[in-house]
Amino acid sequence: MRKIDRATANAYFRIRTTLIVIYLSIGFLVSFGVVFFARDLSSFSVMGVPFHYYMGSQGAIVTFIILLFVNAKVSDVVDKKFGITPEQIEQKDKVVNQ
């Protein structure tokens, strides 16, 4: 165990939270946003399906999946940048947890 600066810990939390806010805003936009303007967005089509229907049946879900994988990957990068690696998990936890 070693002590780290409070400011570093806060910076870590701030980065993670900012990213989450961005991801959630995108998710909100492709679902609630499109539904709210569904009638206006039905005038053009994607793959033969009017846009509002396409987003509801495929676009939003694919966006959600991408967001979750981006989050998982980016979080790993952020963790690494702050010197957090899986090796730090205590050995005894590993044994218990396997």
Binding site: R6, T8, V49, H52, I61, F64
Partner: protein, 552 residues
């Protein structure tokens, strides 16, 4: 006894033997195994297990039918049930994982330092999981009823026996690996008929790319018939109902105890994030296919069934008319079945379409096995959540803290059997379509757990009195709205019973915040523990200082 019956039965029995074999192989030995599978499940497999746990009879049997009947308005279910994973994975799961508690009521009890809050949470877990399992049993009734060509009531009873038997046997560890197998069975069973229909109708094996063509053709037919067009939004309910339902399903997903407990089976926050991502990918495969399934089913019904002579209907119709879920009435007496004279229940579309499209006995049998996998896997997870709430949070923590592990396991198993039987009795006469019953469970979860967990993780000032008041108000508002809307015709902005969660969640959030601010803040220790949830396992926050663990 025809060939179809034998093939379906053989496939169901074979897949069951597989699940039970896995369950026995992993038979639970200790309490920690029984509840959370010793926290050793890799994210990809945990993702599949979450997928199987998640995709219930509502997703498998009910979803495509609901989209087919409601058109665009049914897509609220698709976006709501997938979008919930954003809230869950971003806002709750990693933090709850770090808190390291066995169950959701335990987290709420310890975080808010309130035994009463833990009890309310345990009771809410039981109410929510119970409501949800009614939908599952009702779904297994549809499948078994059709398969054995018996009344849905007898089908449901058979489902009860099966579910009680195997959830009591395996526990979570058995169930985790069993659910991986169930995921594979149900996704294969779902994709094969969609792909076959896609090839039949559009000569393209990729339904996700091809069903636009079918939708354009249906537009023409709808206009000729003068009925409301399939893809036009808000024909079945108001825009606000769509939004409220979508919110309810998302927040409910993030607050469902049996789904959250899945994230306790991984080792770290990192693994929780990856599990969430894999889970949604596996779930997405089915959810992306459901609208295609719905479009193909509707098209086949419109072009191949509607317009045929009533004296000359295909053989499949009779079996479904017998289950009481399909009605073909010759309203204008011309001897021809019009589209408007065909009334099909949401719940049989998925099961009936492969028969209608004449996909062959093997595919139809596979559908039955897949549907049973979906109903059973979710019911299994629900029963574990109910038994954990009762044996761990109520019995062990409140009634008999000296209970031995064996005794607690025994209480857990008895609970499972009792809960399944009672849910089965209610399911004999289901109070709504499967997706609707399940939506009520989500409304209750979004009115109770979602606000309690969200504030518990993100706002350290939230305290015991706040959460108690919040959960009680949320539960009260949600239940009142469901009953007032369903039986009293009361609505706000056209929002009906299935969208009740939006009011429950709002009321619970406001109550929790207001009561927390009016009462003393939680102890410094609790506040520090909440701050500690911000950081991964490698970082520890205590006494205002931050510590990092060294690599070993």
């Amino acid at each position: 006894m025809d060939a179809q019956f034998l093939v379906s039965l053989a496939l169901i029995v074979a897949t069951f033997a597989l699940y039970i074999g896995i369950a026995i192989y992993n038979k639970a030995k200790a309490t920690s195994d029984f509840y959370v599978a010793s926290r050793g499940v890799p994210p990809v497999f945990n993702g599949m297990a979450i997928g199987a746990d998640w995709m219930s009879a509502a997703s498998f049997i009910g979803l495509a039918g609901t989209v087919m009947i409601l058109g665009y308005d049914g897509l609220a279910y698709i976006m709501g049930w997938t979008g919930g994973y954003l809230l869950l994975t971003f806002l709750l799961a990693p933090q709850l994982r770090k808190s390291g508690r066995y169950t959701v009521p335990e987290f709420i009890g310890d975080r808010y330092k309130s035994d009463f809050a833990r009890l309310i949470a345990a009771v809410a877990t039981i109410i929510i999981s119970f409501t949800y399992s009614i939908g599952q049993l009702s779904g297994s009734g549809v499948v078994i009823g059709r398969l054995l060509e018996v009344n849905t009531v007898i089908g449901t009873l058979i489902g009860v026996v099966l579910i009680a038997f195997y959830s009591a046997l395996g526990g979570m560890k058995g169930i985790t690996w069993t659910q991986v197998a169930q995921y594979l069975v149900l996704i294969i069973a779902y994709l094969i008929p969609v792909i076959f229909m896609s090839m039949q109708l559009t000569q393209n094996p990729l339904p996700w790319l091809s069903y636009g063509e079918v939708i354009s053709e249906m537009k023409v037919i709808d206009q000729e018939l003068g009925i409301s067009e399939y893809i036009v939004p808000f024909t079945e309910g108001s825009k606000w109902q769509f939004i409220a339902l979508m919110f309810t399903l998302m927040a409910g997903t993030a607050g469902l105890p049996h789904v959250i407990v899945r994230f306790y089976t991984v080792r770290t926050m990192k693994a929780a994030r990856w599990s969430g991502a894999w889970a949604l990918l596996f779930i997405g495969l089915l959810y992306l296919s459901a609208p295609a399934y719905a479009a193909f089913s509707r098209f086949i019904l419109m072009t191949e069934v509607a317009g045929s002579s009533l004296n000359n209907l295909p053989a499949w119709t009779q079996a479904w008319v017998d289950t009481g879920r399909l009605s073909l009435a010759d309203g204008n007496g011309d001897g021809i079945l019009q589209w408007t004279e065909l009334v099909i229940s949401n719940d049989i579309v998925v099961m009936a379409t492969p028969e209608i499209a004449n996909l062959g006995i093997f595919v139809i049998g596979l559908m039955a096995a897949g549907a049973m996998a979906a109903a059973l896997s979710t019911a299994g997870g629900l029963m574990i959540a109910i038994s954990a709430a009762l044996s761990h949070d109520i019995y062990y923590r409140s009634i008999n803290p000296k209970a031995t592990e064996q005794k607690r396991l025994a209480v857990g198993r008895i609970t499972i059997v009792l809960a399944t039987v009672i849910a089965g009795l209610v399911a004999l006469n289901p109070p709504g379509a499967i997706t609707q019953i399940v939506a009520w469970a989500f409304a209750l979860a979004s009115g109770t757990f979602f606000p309690a967990l969200l504030l518990g993780v993100w706002w350290k000032r939230a305290n015991g009195p706040g959460v108690v008041a919040g959960m009680l108000v949320g539960l009260g508002v949600t239940l009142t709205y469901i009953f007032a809307a369903k039986y009293g015709g009361f609505t706000i902005l056209g929002i009906i019973d299935t969208g009740a969660g939006v009011f429950g969640a709002a009321a619970a959030l406001i109550t929790n915040v207001v009561v927390s601010l009016l009462t003393p803040p939680p102890s410094k220790k609790i506040q520090e523990e909440v701050t500690n949830l911000r950081y991964p396992e490698q970082i520890e926050y205590k006494d205002g200082e931050v510590w990092v663990k060294d690599a070993k």
